[in-house]
Each structure stands twice: as structure tokens, then as C-alpha cells.
């Protein structure tokens, strides 16, 4: 399969088939916390998408050049092959915190009203599992045990697809919650329980995408051969 096909497959898989929120359960906190209004959910999704992309590019670069066994930079300094994988988690956290800081500065400078409405949830992106999860998924495909080595474009495709999938889940949920405000919900279910049950139904709907990547592969295979 050609490069474009691979990229599309990774992005499609991350956005729909293995949706970050509804399949891997990462980023549940904003899924519950910021899904009251559609516009807020959409901006939150965009902020997370942007942070995921920045953090993924940085962590791919870091893993390839510094962290993986026999990486060029530390090997050059030490004069022999090195293995710094033990530092993976620590360095990823620093990278993520730095990218969130960067996004926070940008939004505060250019979109002050948005900055106000995010409130505490903006710095909390640092502790959003979705971002560390994307970095870890990418690191699985770089160096050591990987059977299929990923380039920077693959990493970016995963980040972008995952971010779009996250935004999609958040916007869907907030649309449903706006309608739920007008409903008569049984008292024990008011608040979080009903959100969880609705999330379950959404996850059930997204299960329907399982296997559709095979169809995509077939379509590409057909398009590739005359």
C-alpha cells in the first residue's frame, strides 16, 4: 500500500474505529466536564487536537533521535550505543506540559474570551490522558520492538485523526446533553449516570465502524491496480 493509503488508514482508524474516547476511554474527564455546550465542546476539541499534534511531533522526534535504543544523539555523545527508553515517561510528560503551556499562552494572547470560558480545563489538558496516550501509541511504532517503523507523517496522521475523533465525540455528546436538559429524567439518573448511559449508546454506535478499515484497504487495492 502506498504512503497516502497508510496515512488515511491510520487517521481513519484513530478517528472512528478506535475512537479515543469511546473505544480507549482516554480523555473521559473533559468528555464529562466540558460537554454541556456545543460551542465550548468544539473549542475544547480543537485545543486538544492542536496540543496532540504538537506533542506527537515533539515526542516522535525525541524518541527517534534521543530515546530509542541506539539513537543517534546520545550515541554520538557517549561514543557507543545507548538505551534511554527508561526515561520515556518522564520526558513525554515534560514535552506535553511544555506544549500545553504554549497553547495556553497563545489562547490568552489572541482569544481572551475563550481563555476565560475554558477556565481550569485548559491547564488540565496536561493531565488529559488522550495526549500521553497518543505519544505512547507512537512510541510503540518507533525503534526497538516495532515491526513497522513509523515516520513523522504517520505520527501526525494518528494525532490528527485522534484529535478529530475526540472533537467528534465531544460535540456529539454536548448536542445530546443540550437536548437532555429539556427531558424528564428519572431522579437517580440525573447528572453523571445518564451521561454515562448515553456514552454507552454512542460507543455502541461507534462499534459499527469495526472492520470498515478492511473495506478501505480493499478500495485502495482496487484503485491501485488497473
Amino acid at each position: 500500500m502506498d504512503t497516502l493509503g497508510e496515512i488515511l488508514m491510520i487517521a481513519f482508524g484513530a478517528a472512528l474505529i478506535h475512537n479515543f474516547v469511546l473505544h480507549y476511554f482516554v480523555g473521559i474527564c473533559p468528555f464529562i466536564g466540558v460537554s454541556r455546550r456545543v460551542d465550548l465542546a468544539f473549542s475544547m476539541g480543537c485545543a486538544v487536537t492542536f496540543v496532540v499534534c504538537v506533542a506527537s511531533v515533539l515526542s516522535w522526534t525525541l524518541t527517534t533521535w534521543v530515546l530509542q535504543p541506539g539513537a543517534p544523539i546520545p550515541s554520538f555523545i557517549a561514543g557507543r550505543d545507548t538505551d534511554l527508553t527508561i526515561l520515556t515517561y518522564l520526558s513525554y510528560i515534560v514535552v506535553i506540559a511544555a506544549s500545553v503551556q504554549f497553547v495556553e499562552l497563545y489562547i490568552r494572547r489572541y482569544h481572551p474570551p475563550l481563555y476565560k470560558s475554558f477556565g481550569v480545563y485548559l491547564p488540565l489538558i496536561t493531565t488529559n490522558c488522550a495526549i500521553l496516550f497518543a505519544c505512547l501509541e507512537i512510541s510503540k511504532h518507533v525503534g526497538g520492538t516495532a515491526t513497522d517503523a513509523w515516520g513523522l507523517h504517520h505520527a501526525l496522521a494518528l494525532a490528527l485523526g485522534g484529535g478529530i475523533g475526540f472533537t467528534l465525540a465531544l460535540v456529539l455528546m454536548s448536542g445530546i446533553r443540550q437536548e437532555l436538559d429539556l427531558c424528564d429524567i428519572p431522579r437517580p439518573f440525573v447528572g453523571i449516570p445518564v451521561v454515562m448511559v448515553v456514552g454507552g449508546i454512542l460507543a455502541l454506535a461507534f462499534l459499527g465502524f469495526t472492520g470498515s478499515d478492511q473495506g478501505l484497504v480493499d478500495a485502495f487495492a482496487k484503485g491501485g491496480t488497473p
Binding site: 474527564c29 439518573f189 449516570p193
Partner: protein, 208 residues
């Protein structure tokens, strides 16, 4: 706040188990709660890992609380936690390889688990080592209880087993959806609703 107005170590421990249960009351750290509860065994391993990291991070943060600066404290918390998670992750990969494969990315994701950062912030950065350790034990006990509650429902209905032993009759039609992601959302939502039914019932009785 002075130390005397904060809860004692004993209160910290008791509070963590039910009154301030991290999962059902504070709604913190929901990612592992939903992701690793397909079987009871993986839920127990996850709770153990979280307990070790929480205890380590709380004790360390409590020891260095005099040197913490407000604007840098979250970074210090996260880096401390990341260190302990690396330890637990490597240990588990060495001695419990199949389980560490099964937990996959959710083990390193403990780093960004809100429970641990929250406990460091609320308790360990303000109180001594004793209270911090008691708080960590109580919170992790509460976390374990919640995870086991969800996991046993899911494993029982989804596979008819508990910890791998057949419990339901052989004719039990396995509800595969309970093992799949939607089952996690449903089980958690229904268990929370059940808890609030109990609470409403109690309040009602108190009023009458």
C-alpha cells in the same frame, strides 16, 4: 491552613474508602475505571499498581512539602508520579509479563491519573508523612473497591466467570457487549444510579 484543622490520619483513611470514594464520589481517574474492568484480574492488578504509585508519590510529596513553590508544584507532582510509574511498569514487565501486556498503555497512563495529583494537592502537600500515607491507603482501598465492583459485574455478565473461574451455569448466554467498551459505560452509569437510589432512599427515611 494550620495542620490542626485538617483531618487526622485516621479520618483521612476512613474518608477515602466510602465518604470520599475517588471513583463514585469524586469522579476522578475514570480512564482506568472504564478501560481495565473487563476482567476482575486486570482490575485488581491495576488497583495494586495505582496503590503503589499513590503511596510512593504521597509520601515523597509530603516529605518535600516545605520546598514546594506554588507555580511549580504540579510539575513536581507529575514528575514524582512519572518516576514511580516507570518503576512499577518496569517491575511488572519483568515479573508479570502477560498482565503488563494486557494492561498495555493504561499502566503508563497512571501518570496522568487525576486521583494521584488530586491527593498530592489536597493532602500530601499540606500534611505530614503519616497522614499522607493513611490518605493514600484509604483512597486506594476505595479505588480498589470501585474497580472490583464494576469488574465483577462486567466479567460475570460478559463471560460468566469471576477471576477466570466459571460461576454462571454453562447455559448462560454470554453478554459480549459487557466486555466490549459500551458495557463499561453502561455498568458505571447503572452502578452510579443505584448508589443515588440508595442515597435518596436514606434521605427520604431521615426526613419522614
Amino acid at each position: 491552613m494550620s495542620e490542626s484543622s485538617l483531618p487526622t490520619p485516621g479520618e483521612r483513611f476512613v474518608n477515602g474508602v466510602l465518604p470520599e470514594n475517588p471513583v463514585f464520589r469524586q469522579l476522578l481517574g475514570l480512564c482506568p475505571v472504564l478501560a481495565v474492568t473487563a476482567t476482575l484480574a486486570s482490575a485488581l492488578t491495576m488497583s495494586f499498581a495505582v496503590a503503589v504509585v499513590l503511596l510512593g508519590a504521597n509520601v515523597v510529596v509530603s516529605l518535600i512539602r516545605g520546598w514546594l513553590r506554588p507555580h511549580l508544584r504540579i510539575v513536581v507532582f507529575t514528575l514524582t508520579i512519572a518516576g514511580f510509574v516507570t518503576l512499577v511498569d518496569k517491575t511488572m514487565a519483568a515479573f508479570l509479563y502477560p498482565m503488563s501486556k494486557e494492561l498495555g498503555p493504561y499502566l503508563p497512563l497512571i501518570i496522568v491519573n487525576c486521583i494521584i495529583i488530586c491527593r498530592c494537592e489536597v493532602c500530601a502537600s499540606k500534611q505530614g508523612v503519616g497522614a499522607a500515607a493513611a490518605d493514600a491507603l484509604g483512597q486506594s482501598l476505595g479505588f480498589t473497591l470501585a474497580l472490583c465492583a464494576i469488574a465483577s459485574v462486567r466479567e460475570l455478565l460478559g463471560a460468566g466467570t469471576l477471576l477466570g473461574f466459571q460461576v454462571m451455569p454453562a447455559a448462560w448466554p454470554e453478554w459480549v457487549v459487557m466486555i466490549l467498551p459500551p458495557g463499561a459505560f453502561f455498568t458505571f452509569g447503572l452502578l452510579m444510579a443505584l448508589l443515588s437510589v440508595i442515597q435518596l432512599h436514606r434521605e427520604h427515611r431521615r426526613v419522614v
